[in-house]
Symmetry: C2
Subunit: 146 residues, 2 copies
């Protein structure tokens, strides 16, 4: 009974808490990404990748598709635009919207980076056996919600 599994009783060790380990796992992934794709941050790559998948999107819509709020996606897109990877123009139908699309250069960079991006996902999961990795992804997906 006294096995510390209750949420309101027993010892609390920081090192055993989901949030803390989640943060460390994320750190490890970010480090792998920075090593293999130094010229683009994971966030920037995510925005570019999703925009290439969709072909086009409004700024906030792209933010929602990549789990970034309006303030965050703005900075990310600003930097991608400055590097000529993303093109932006005012939407004709809705004067509020910023219509985004990847430039040819952005599209090419995305495709050129794909092998490395796949490799990063593989390396991140490398500590797990094949079956463990599959199971882990299923559980992680549940944890992420939505």
């Amino acid at each position: 009974m006294n096995d510390n599994s209750d949420a309101t009783t027993g010892s609390y060790r920081l090192d055993d808490q989901v949030g803390f380990i989640l943060r460390r796992a994320n750190q490890r992934h970010l480090a792998l990404f920075a090593r293999d794709i130094p010229d683009l941050t994971p966030t920037q790559f995510a925005a570019l990748a999703k925009l290439c998948e969709l072909g086009q999107a409004s700024q906030n819509a792209l933010g929602r598709a990549t789990a970034m709020d309006a303030a965050t996606i703005k900075g990310v897109i600003d930097r991608l635009r400055k590097r000529g990877l993303v093109a932006a123009r005012r939407d004709a139908d809705d004067a509020r919207r910023v219509h985004l699309s990847p430039t040819k250069q952005g599209q090419q960079l995305y495709e050129a980076l794909l092998p490395r991006a796949r490799e990063i996902s593989k390396e991140t999961l490398a500590p797990l056996a094949q079956q463990e990795a599959t199971l882990f992804l299923q559980l992680l997906e549940k944890l992420a919600g939505d």
Copy 2:
């Protein structure tokens, strides 16, 4: 054979990549934390908790124990000191070191927040069944490394 499981072939969907889902899971946890413990960030709580666990530590040592680099832990400790939760003094034996310890107020706050911290961990894992959660933590730990 063509099941897209190879790291260098097949389709690439952002939404299926570990890094992306890891980031979303982390976001969900951060949101739960901010809701239940609005007066302290997860990082600040981690530093305070670990310092209370250890009783004392040098600044960089605490950073290592909480997976924060020297530049990051400095800002975190500065803010905790400003709020009177952590006391700092120059180490007598090593003039480089900053000797840190929780103040009485910091210790009390930590203990007062423990039930909520436990609850947050529980809520974060809530989408998983008991057995799934245990397994998940084991796999996540492997992924975090070290």
